[in-house]
């Protein structure tokens, strides 16, 4: 499997570390909403199909990437830096998957 790092170009999956479901929202640090905290720490979207997920290019530039990857075929349809995606709304991408 190859992931095309926006900085380094296409690289073998061996250079990357999977950081899981990219749809999770970390509650405000001071939040006392335990349901939200629990959901953030423990609950994952686990779709059969396109999945919005976070990978670190740990064996390369070490940036974190938001990758949309199909869990049935491993086909990757988009890769972008996580940093800076708050504004673009990429975080919600997988929720439109229906």
């Amino acid at each position: 499997m190859l992931i095309t790092c926006p900085y380094c170009g296409p690289r073998d999956v061996i250079e990357f570390t999977y950081q899981g479901d990219g749809n999770r929202e970390r509650p405000d640090p001071a939040s006392q909403n335990f349901e939200a905290w629990n959901a953030y720490v423990y609950d994952r979207l686990n779709p059969a199909g396109d999945h919005n997920e976070i990978w670190q290019h740990s064996g390369g530039c070490r940036t974190h990437l938001r990758v949309v990857r199909n869990t049935l075929t491993h086909e990757i349809s988009s890769v972008a830096f996580v940093r800076g995606d708050h504004a673009s709304g990429a975080r919600r991408k997988a929720e439109d998957r229906s």
Partner: protein, 195 residues
């Protein structure tokens, strides 16, 4: 000044090795630059950092990911967004950059001791490096001057192409001896010389 100890020392055997009777196709050296620094810009400050690099080193970085160049004494290349490695035969880069890179631009981290630079040169340099790293070493994909961050299992490496047949590999000092031995081993097939 007290001389720095090379981590390779006991395994650095000057001379020709491996299948060299058919010709030497690899040269291996430790370049031992006097200083190595890592520079990192805050978002939006990349251009200012590149300007600072030019001010200090005289090297004008090309735009683009992994861009870099070397004048044979000083070398610079990008290895991550807004991040650059700079090396100089002379010591003192960190101090020089501490002036030029203001806190508003980014940070300077001295890695002069922390990274070991191994130079591999010769017609089979791409061939030998391909045994370790899953990146495309063809000149078209990896032009002279450019830098790459990659890894061979546990060993992180930044690689700068400093010639058509020449690469400088920056590895963590603690891994350098192990990596050096592996590199020598892998070069035996084509014959190599340690200088």
């Amino acid at each position: 000044m007290v001389e720095r100890q090379s981590p390779l020392e006991p395994e650095l055997h000057i001379g020709s090795h491996g299948n060299f009777e058919h010709g030497i196709e690899i040269l291996l050296t430790e370049t031992r630059p006097g200083s190595i620094v890592q520079l990192a810009a805050w978002p939006g400050e990349e251009k200012n950092l590149m300007t600072a690099i030019r001010t200090v080193t005289g090297l004008a970085l090309p735009d683009g990911a992994g861009g870099g160049l070397s004048d044979g004494v000083k070398s610079v290349f990008g290895f991550a967004p807004g991040k650059f490695t700079v090396a100089d035969d002379a010591e003192g880069l960190a101090a020089a950059f501490a002036e030029a890179v203001t806190p508003a631009i980014g940070t300077v981290t001295d890695l002069s001791h922390g990274r070991t630079v191994i130079r591999i040169a010769g017609p089979k340099a791409e061939w030998v490096l391909a045994k370790f790293f899953a990146i495309d070493f063809a000149l078209t994909a990896f032009p002279v001057g450019a830098g790459r961050s990659t890894a061979h299992h546990d060993v992180f490496a930044q690689i700068q192409r400093t010639g058509a047949d020449q690469f400088d590999i920056y590895v963590f000092r603690s891994f350098a001896r192990s990596f050096w031995k592996a590199l020598c081993h892998a070069s035996e097939e084509v014959g190599y010389e340690v200088q």
